[in-house]
Structure formats: C-alpha cells, structure tokens
Symmetry: C2
Subunit: 340 residues, 2 copies
C-alpha cells in the first residue's frame, strides 16, 4: 500500500472501531452514579459542562482499534474484543484525567479539563471510578477461562503506567535526562497500555500465550512511536488539530523526546537550549517559539521522526507470522505519521 | 460474652488477621517497581521516609479480619480468603493515599502522609498503583469460577467509594447537610468497602450468592458504625491513639456525623455552632475546642454513639443464620467501641 492509502486505511479502521465500541462505552459510563457520570460524559465529549448534549468525540480510539484489530488478526470476529476495547479506552481516559491533575493541564482535546472545571479532588475521584469501571467491563463480560488473564494483564500495565508517569513528573525537576531514561519512562507511560490493548484483543479471541505476547510486543513498539510523535506534535503540531495549547510542553520545560535528543546533540543550539531549560525564570511564549527553533536546529525534530519511524517498523517486524496484519500495520503507520 | 471479653476477642481476631495477611501483603507491595514500592513500604509503616526499616503497623486490619471471618463463618479455612483480605487492605490504602491528597491531610497513623512527603502527583500515582495491585492480587490468585464475581464486587464497591468521597468533599462547601445525606455519603465512602470485605471472604469460601449478599449487608452496617465512631474519635479521640491531629475535623468544618446531628438539634448550642460553621474566618484551635463542647451540648456525641451502637446491632441481626458468627460479632462490636 502507498503511504496515503495506509493512512486512509488507518483512519477508516479507527472510525469503525469508535462506531463499534461507542454503545458499550456509553453504557458503561451511564452506569456510574450521578456526579461522576456527569463529569465522565463531559470528559468523553458527549456533553458540555452543564450537561447539554454535544458531540466533540472521545479521542482517536487507537487503543480500541488495536484491540479489535488484534482479535481480527488472530482470526476472530472483532466484536468479541469489544469489552477489551472499551476497558482500554476507559483505562486510557482514567489516566488522562489523573495526568491532567498532575501536569496542571487546563486544556485537552480543545476543551477545558475535568479538574479545571470541577477541581482536583473531583477529578481524582472520577479517574479512580473510570479505573474501576474499566476493570468491571472485563470482569462482567469475559468468561472464567480468560477473565483472570485479562485483568492481570490490564492491571500490570496500569502499574507500569504509574511508574512511567512518576518518572515523567520527576524529569521536570531533573538537570538532565538521557534518551534511555526517556525511553524507559515512555515504555511505561504509553507503551504498556498500547501493548496491553493488543494483548487483550488476542486474549478475547482465545489466542495462545505466545501470540498474546507477540501482539503485546507489537503494541509496545507502536506505543513508543506514538509517544514520540505526540511529543513532536506537542511542539510543532497545529493546536487546532491537537487540541493542546501551542508551546505548552516547552513552557513547562517538559523533557519530551525532541528536547532530550536536542540537548544530547553537543551543538551550539543545544548549549543555548540548555541555558533556557536550566534557568529558573518562567519561559514566555516568545521564548518557547525560539526554543522550538533551537530544538529543530539541534536535530531534535529529525531524530524524533527517525526514531518514531524505526519503532513503527520494529512493531510490524514482531507481528506473529500467522496473523492477518493489514489493520495492525496501518495503525502502526498511523502512530508515527498522524498530525493530531 | 461480656463487653470486655468481646473487645478482647476482636483485638485478638484483628491481630491474627494481620499476622496471616502480612506476608502476602508484603509480597504484593514488593512486586511494585521502585519509586512506587518505596512510597508504599513507607505508607504501610515498614520504613521511614528514607527507606530504613521500621515497624509502625499498617492499620487495624479490620477489612482483612472481616474477609477471613466471613470465610470462616461459612465453614471454610480462613486462609482461603487471604487474597481477598490483602486485596481489601490494598484497596483501602489506595483510597487513603488519594483521600489524604483531596483532604490536604498531612498526618495519618501519627506519621506524615505520602503527598506531604513526595507531593500530590506522586501520591496520585501511588494510589492508582495500589488500586491496580489490589485487583491483580485477586486475578492472580482466584480460580476462574470466582474471579469474575470477586473483581466485579470489588470494583463496584470502589465506584461507590468514589461517589461517597465526592459527596464528602462537596459537603465542605455546602450550607447544610442532612443526616440522610451524611448516611448516603458514608454508605459509599466507608460502607461499600467494608461490605465488600465480608462479601469477598464468602466468595473465596465458595458461598452461595444469598450468603454473599447477607454478609455484604452485615459489613455495610458495620461500615456505618465504624465511620460514625471514626467521626467521634476525630473530635474527642486521643490523638496519641488515633494518629490524627486534635480538632482537625472541626478546623476543616468537616460535616461529620456528630456535627450534622448537633446542627439539626434546634438547641442554642446548635445555633452557636451554626454561626461558627457559616462564618468565613478560619477556625482556631481554641475555637475548635469550644466547638467540640457545643457539639456535645447539642447532643451530637450522644446521638452518634447511639447510632453507631444501633448500626452494630443491625449488622449482627443480618448475619446469615447458618453462619458461625463469633468473630463477625466481635468485629461489629469493635467497629462501634474502639478508641483508636
């Protein structure tokens, strides 16, 4: 397939997954008791802050699409993996609601975040409830033969996410972060859940453990490609598409992959960037713009794009041989070539 | 049994449960990746903030003891419920770590809280990881026949806890809170998990659903007795025993049961208390002492003790008839008569 065809295929795969999962996702959210339900419906883009119905979308649905694609890849009807797909999206959204509190981010998907509207305490409660709901979707739907495996995989991934998020927070006060440290953080924060989405799709399809592990490994590689691409979009993305404020990552001195790679480059631009990152003064919007140029000059953008491409290729290389891999391959390509 | 004998029996039952569960609880905590493990070991009283080993205890172990007692009550070896007991203590501790962030409480069990030492973000990560670990203890240990039921029960209880905690936070800015609203909050915040501890013990023992539900109902009543007693200790308890600062609940204008009951009393003391609670000025330690006297004069302490007693009796009344109930009865008595 050409690159354009591959991206078109991925876009259709994502839209189809969102369509297949939305009723079950909505039903799960509607089961929450009321103050929590209202915040969740807002967070997922189904209402405005006052509860009036809107449709702004609940994200890309990458994790849902990967769960369905993994089930399909091992020969099952993708519908069998809908509980896994919904559990993954609920888990992902639980982590977003908590991350926004930790990072003090006021905007997500172009809208005010839950903590910004209802306060940090209520956002912590909502994240905890979405976490519980994610697991309950699995324990309610899966048969005795697979429910234990699925729940253990998902909660093990959540522990890794917590470890990665802890490290990401710690990076903000560190004087230097190596590429290896960044990759360990991103493998936890992003890779573990995306790997788990693929693994759970395969578990729902009744795949053997070697296949489940192969698809988990595929997803973890995609996760790194996805996170690095996210970092690139966090600096050079179109905020109208990403829904995040321009320059926010740089203003926060976030140790994203492009910044880490730039700072390691031993170029004059790196030295100048380092002075900015090590000063105590707040970074202004104008300084963020010149910092973005410094990161690019120091090779941070190019290295990020190369690395994301390499990870997407590495992902495709570990897909189990017998799998029907079209959807998975297109989603791997999407992870490193999306613009939102 | 006399009251002293009953409390002695409860104390021995709790100590025995802690002894039986500690190895598995410790093993679960040790499985966490490192920055999270270190904070968890501190939180559970096994180390000081620098990681040096200490032994300050990980709480009363009421939920663990109830899980084991419920298994024993339906004729099983209590050891079969150790995974349930450990999952309940991990869940309880996840909620404590998050509650301390939400309530900005700096002291717990006589020691600095996790967020106070490591910041709110890291405490949120730790709570999330303990939640995941609690569920994984169940999914790793329970057979396919019961794991789905157990996980659904626990996560349904967590959703109720989140609802209760949300309401508790909301009460702090409300002009009035009724006894019914308080009881709905406490049924979620405290009753759901204590009910679940009993239910899961019975599930591990292979009890039928009617028995599981009967023990859940027993635990929920105990939970209310426990929370109201906790509120009484929060005002009149010995801070050397409770590990919490004197007057803290009153200084925070917390709508605890004694305060809610006092404010409803239509006495002169209630009117004076109401003025203090509705003023915008911070409550001083001296004002907290006189507020405690007002709550007592308005009958808030007496009504709390009566209500806690009534709930403990109601708990005992719903124990399924065929159950061997000695341990459960002593723990119900403990819930409403403890001094720490």
């Amino acid at each position: 397939m050409s690159e354009t065809t591959t991206l078109t295929h991925a876009t259709a795969t994502l839209a189809n997954a969102r369509r297949l999962c939305e009723p079950a996702l909505r039903a799960a959210i509607e089961s929450l008791p009321d103050p929590l339900r209202r915040m969740a419906v807002y967070h997922l883009g189904w209402s405005d802050p006052d509860g009036a119905a809107v449709r702004t979308g609940w994200g890309k649905g990458l994790r849902a699409a990967l769960a369905l694609a993994a089930a399909s890849a091992v020969g099952a009807d993708p519908l069998i993996a809908v509980p896994a797909a919904v559990a993954m999206e609920l888990t992902h959204n639980f982590t977003l609601v908590h991350d926004d509190v930790m990072d003090a981010d006021r905007m997500r998907r172009g809208r005010e975040t839950v903590w910004s509207l209802w306060g940090a305490s209520n956002a912590i409660c909502l994240g905890d409830a979405l976490h519980a709901l994610a697991i309950r979707v699995l324990s309610d739907a899966l048969p005795g033969a697979t429910v234990g495996t699925a729940v253990t995989l998902l909660e093990s991934a959540v522990v890794e996410v917590c470890r990665g998020q802890y490290e990401d927070c710690a990076f903000e006060t560190r004087s230097s972060v190596t590429v290896e440290e960044y990759l360990s953080m991103a493998a936890g924060k992003t890779g573990a859940l995306i790997g788990c989405a693929c693994a759970l799709g395969a578990v729902c399809a009744g795949a053997d453990m070697a296949t489940v592990e192969g698809l988990d490994a595929f997803g973890r590689q995609i996760g790194l490609a996805f996170q690095i691409t996210d970092d690139v979009l966090g600096i050079w993305g179109d905020s109208g598409r990403t829904g995040k404020p321009v320059g926010g990552d740089l203003i926060r001195r976030k140790r994203s992959f492009p910044v880490v790679a730039a700072l390691m480059s031993q170029t004059p631009a790196a030295a100048e960037l380092s002075r900015l990152f090590h000063s105590d003064a707040p970074i202004t919007a104008a300084q963020a713009t010149s910092a973005a140029a410094l990161v690019e000059t120091a090779g941070g953008k190019r290295r990020s794009e190369q690395y994301a491409d390499a990870k997407a290729e590495a992902a495709v290389a570990v897909i189990p041989r017998h799998a029907k891999a079209d959807d998975l391959i297109s989603l791997a390509y999407f992870a490193s070539h999306r613009n939102r």
